[in-house]
Symmetry: C2
Subunit: 196 residues, 2 copies
Amino acid sequence: MMKVNENQTEHIYDERREQIKRAALKLFAYRGITGTKMSMIADEAGISQGLTYRYFNSKEELFTELIQEAMDESQSAIKNIHHLPSTPTEQIRALTKIMLDESHKHYFLLVQQAQTSEGVPERTKQVLEQYSSKDTIDQLLPILIKGQQTGEFCAGDPFRLLLLYFSVISGLILQGVHSEANWLEEVDSLMKILMK
Amino acid sequence: MMKVNENQTEHIYDERREQIKRAALKLFAYRGITGTKMSMIADEAGISQGLTYRYFNSKEELFTELIQEAMDESQSAIKNIHHLPSTPTEQIRALTKIMLDESHKHYFLLVQQAQTSEGVPERTKQVLEQYSSKDTIDQLLPILIKGQQTGEFCAGDPFRLLLLYFSVISGLILQGVHSEANWLEEVDSLMKILMK
DNA sequence: GTCTATATCTCGATAGAC
DNA sequence: GTCTATCGAGATATAGAC
């Protein structure tokens, strides 16, 4: 008969954890780990600074957990692409749109921040390497090669082409942060990089 | 007869200033202003931490001076493009190569960092706005429009096309930091964004 | 569970010896 | 001119009251 209460307590606990993570994601994505203070995260989440440490042992742990989530998220986005039964062009277009989409932006920004700035803790680097951009691209290689065979995509080293393409997308997301630009409408312009 | 000594002293002073600036540029570009500690800059320059303050009043001043320099540098790169008497395609290609070039990379990265991360001091923001990316693109508009008239470039809003293109370049530079990729060979792939 | 208070540390900036 | 020592602000992380 203790069960219900226990579950409820656990539920509240998880909720608060998520609340802190949402606040932290937003801040980390825009300001990086060194530029984000724990007090800012607490403010954004509407709780006291000290309480944050009841849910996360350190700033580093919080940051790393978010990176892990972001990686999982992008992995599953790529997995889903393969299940869409359409042309390579449409598959890449769909993935591009997901990446540029408002709801995924923070995650991609966070990873971008972590990969480019050097003030990242050792523990976090390990998570980043675990799913390297190389693996991500390896998964997309079959799609690109098929597109080259059908004549939709241009010739050239498929790996290098994909690396270029996704570097471009990542860069655009970062750039768009301030300019308020919405590159979603420019997907076709971007895809010209891959097209014949 | 004091003149010679005075000049020499001044020369040594300027040399050291440049030495600090070189060290700071490298660090700021990769780690941002909040991720870079004055002690790191001093280490990189091979001097003591305290000495840095004999040459710059504050970290902010050092950062802002570098931003100013980076802006001047990119402005003059764009000015020079107009004096090259060649086709629009060649002009844009030349500018792209300059931006991706090793020697300019740090400057472009620094500006990128400053424009995207939020922990930037107020004074620096003013310098950034002084030469906004809008002005930069405005200067290149005639080239793009000419290219559209000659049929080299694709149709579409010239401003939006250029903004997209230079966002792509900036993003690539950032992305390339760690992957050691050299996108110089990919200039033609990138320019497909603009081409017919 | 949550907040306030505080110990501890890190960093920017200054002071003073050489 | 340069270094070492140190101050003071602000941040992370902990402790203790409610």
